[in-house]
Symmetry: C2
Subunit: 552 residues, 2 copies
């Protein structure tokens, strides 16, 4: 019997940054790597987050999914776990210790812990999941415990990098596993799937260690309190801040629930090395001289309800920005967040803080490889075929062009989008069919129920609001009786709009006087049209207009 | 009699990028420099643009405004012209030829040309406006015909740089007027007001000329059509594209009304040097081999209705992206536009084009000075006092810190926001009173009528939409008669929400059954509250809910 084809089914991460999810199939056996979410663009109004469209897997009733395997604990790789576990109850999970800890929290919240088992492995371990043998290898990124996989298949090894950078002086001392990558190449790599996030950035992403020098400068000069905002999961950064605090005789306070929880977990797992007596309770800050404290805070993306956002607008329960504070924003804005982040920084300046951010000083570096590292990855792994993953289309194209430059033949380099299946057999790798692979919007408890129509209505409402007019009409005379009731929001400030409201009433009276047809629907349409036209003429705005006619 | 104080009243451009406007007063005499607009942030829902709050000037009835003087023709310096001329009819305008041409177009559209006179001057000219003598000097920026001013006052020269960079190899050959700046310093400069846009960027902004080399590479390699998107007013870039077209034997077509109009004006003024026979009509593109054309297009900020945006979504009337096209995006995203610009680029890739943008290749450079140039400006001008202008608060702070580093004493460096007045007399310069200086939103034909309440309502509507329920209640029984009418938009897709609608009806029935009070207002509130609660429980969304009760 012929060996089954290998099918690689990308359900997220291709043609977009975030929402990583890929299925690997051999005949009727499959595994899933990562189940991430994506954050909505500014114009995806009201959408909370976006999960992969995994309809295809649900419809493949013949398929046995043997496991869900994770590269690392970031939301764009784990955020959809509850949705996926809920859909595929009983399928076990495989993750490194920190990732497993983060997944457990998510699944407990979703009351789904009973529906899966979490198998913990360490970087370097070999996993046997269904017919797949996965050799995990450590990679450096901006959260600890990250791995990539060498997936053994009947047609050669598929190397999946996960998110990576080549950091030769990582803060936790755990260097990239060059040896394993080279060893894969010795055995023959069929396909390399590699992180494309920074594919349009030349050079080499600086090591996390360069931040130590920047911190030193800031800590040496700061006379008052120091606050450092970063991602709650950036454990190595927290380690760097703790180290700097020790060097400069400051105590470390933590503000922000998620960061506190992550620190607890990381200390328990031995990933974060901070002595007990370095910590200071946020409530004891008042009793400590400003020059003796560092406060780590959440909200580096300008989220209004996180600590930094609250400090910027003076809405934090216990903390306030004081003149003389030095605030380090140790993060880059995620694309789309620029306005919010910079507005937060401006507001902190306004409250008297000195704010340090990149490029003022190198207080953050990317967690993703740049072009030189991408070249190194290709040359270490020497794959026959190349599939750039994890990036917008522009990044995938740039990464693909780099692969061709690096000597991989053009027809062995694929640029695919979500849902475009790659097939491999003894003849090689090629593009196969296309399966669904779009956005599934999550809004409140609704999954996928918000589509274009609702978003388009929200756009109109966001721009010009609405007006509803309810009026009583005398059945016999066809004339309005009494005053119409007008409800409007997001259009004009009603209290200052008496004249406009008079125009509304006059327009209704005009329409009723000239409408011979007593058909309610037609009369209603005419009222709505006439009022829309009048409002546009008066205000050059186009609110949604509705009318309700009560005949009496 | 004591000489009157000099008052500098910033009404825009401090603490924000865009919307530049400054008044200079000596006693009862005043001039205005620039009257710009600002583009709304992504969360200023429905706002078309923002103009300076010049209430203060309107209220100073004692003040004679002698002239409105422009540094250059960009929207953030000229966009509010019609509003200002309308408010101060009869006040003459002073501008360089291109700026004057652009202002004339604006004022003709607003039917306000009769209410002002436009006086045209050239860089280097001296203007006498009221009691002020302004010595104009040429600066390099990203539109031709830019000037700064040395403003002679009883207390020394105030140097206002306008937007500038020090480009030593400008495309039009017009170099920065170092001599004039040095001469000011010889005569003694009281205050330097300088562009802060790039104050957090180290180094020196590259010359416009570096783009020639990047264009050469792209033109040499492109086999099909080349399209170049840039700002319609970036005349020097259009010159560079025209030059490259000539070098590589391609004809130049223009798509986009505003760009076409600007090219006509710039050629008439002798600012753009392109031979007639280089141009090709867009309608003749079909008859010309792809390798022989360059098309200049508008829409480099991803604006959906400009040419590039239409090409990206296949909605242009005559043009289509073809496989093999090379598209150069010769612009950087304006802060806040990143998502839209990169989405446009991704869509162009999807349609088969090869898209070149910075950082893929250096096809755009900033029009504003970076930190080395800022240091040079300070050392050329050697001012006694320094006021950073044109930047968000974070840029003003960085520029101020640079000034202190450069040797200007800390207490002679001001960081001011819009509305914070600077006063000068024989004792020096100091911060004075604070006058209004906020945002005035323009939405449709409404100026300043949209405030926080309306924007907040738009936010709620954008997130979760609304629901209105109109129901008939029997006066005697207090029970609902017939079916309620439900209107909802932006909340759920109604056709798929039968169950939810049943819940609405049941909730109403429950409330009516349990409400003893027949007071309409109270019953109404209870219905709204109960339905809001039910909808939140069912959907975890919070639409605005209204009810209308018709008693019969």
């Amino acid at each position: 019997m012929a060996k089954p084809k290998l099918r690689i089914v990308p359900l997220g991460g291709l043609g977009e940054i975030g929402k990583n999810m890929t299925a690997f199939e051999l005949g009727n056996d499959a595994i899933i790597i990562d189940t991430g979410i994506m954050f909505p663009a500014n114009d995806m109004l009201g959408v909370d987050y976006i999960i992969p469209d995994f309809r295809y897997l649900l419809e493949r009733k013949d398929l046995t999914i043997h496991g869900i395997i994770y590269t690392h604990g970031h939301e764009d790789h784990t955020g959809a776990t509850a949705h996926v576990v809920d859909a595929f109850k009983g399928v076990p999970i495989y993750a490194t210790p920190l990732t497993a800890g983060l997944l457990e929290v998510k699944l407990r919240e979703a009351k789904l812990l009973d529906h899966t088992t979490i198998n913990v492995f360490s970087a370097g371990d070999i996993l046997e999941v269904g017919p797949f043998k996965l050799e995990s290898f450590h990679v450096c990124h901006s959260i600890p415990d990250c791995v990539g996989f060498g997936i053994n298949t009947p047609y050669g090894i598929v190397v999946h990098t996960g998110d990576y950078k080549f950091d030769n002086t990582p803060v936790d001392g755990k260097k990239p596993d060059y040896a394993r990558l080279a060893e894969f190449s010795r055995r023959g790599v069929l396909l390399l799937m590699a992180d494309s996030t920074n594919a349009d950035q030349s050079g080499w992403t600086p090591s996390e260690s360069v931040i130590d020098a920047a911190f030193d400068t800031v800590f040496r000069q700061a006379k008052g309190r120091i606050m450092v905002a970063t991602f709650a999961s950036l454990i190595s950064r927290i380690q760097q801040v703790a180290n700097a605090a020790q060097r400069y005789g400051r105590k470390l306070a933590i503000a922000g629930y998620s960061m506190g929880e992550n620190i607890k977990m990381a200390r328990k797992l031995g990933i974060l090395d901070v002595p007990d007596d370095l910590f200071l309770d946020v409530n004891d800050l008042g009793r400590t001289p400003p020059s003796k404290v560092v406060i780590m805070v959440t909200g580096s993306q300008g989220e209004p309800s996180a600590v930094l956002g609250r400090l910027a607008t003076g809405r934090h329960r216990t903390l306030d920005v004081e003149v003389g504070d030095t605030i380090i924003v140790s993060a880059h804005p995620i694309p789309g967040n620029e306005e919010t982040v910079f507005r937060t920084i401006n507001r902190l300046f306004q409250r008297g803080a000195n704010v340090i951010y990149d490029p003022i000083a190198p207080v953050h570096v990317s967690g993703h490889a740049k072009r030189e590292e991408m070249r190194l990855m290709m040359n270490l792994v020497r794959p026959q075929y190349f599939l750039p993953v994890h990036g917008e289309l522009r990044h995938l194209r740039a990464h693909a062009a780099l692969a061709v430059e690096s000597g991989i033949p053009q027809d062995q380099v694929f640029v695919a989008e979500n849902g475009m299946v790659l097939e491999a057999d003894k003849y090689g790798v090629r593009m196969g069919e296309r399966v669904p692979g779009g956005y599934v919007f999550v809004d409140g408890s609704g999954v996928g129920d918000i589509g274009r129509t609702v978003i388009r209505d929200r756009e109109i409402l966001a721009k010009d609001g609405f007006m509803i007019i309810s009026l009583d009409v005398d059945k016999k005379t066809g004339k309005m009786s009494g005053e119409p009731e007008i409800i409007s929001r997001g259009f004009v400030y009603l209290r200052d709009a008496d004249e406009l409201m008079d125009n509304v009433k006059n327009t209704i009276a005009d329409v009723l006087a000239s409408t011979t047809s007593s058909k309610n629907g037609k009369r209603r349409d005419r009222i709505q049209e006439s009022i829309s036209r009048m409002l546009y003429n008066e205000t050059k705005r186009r609110p949604m207009v509705f009318s309700i006619i009560n005949e009496r």
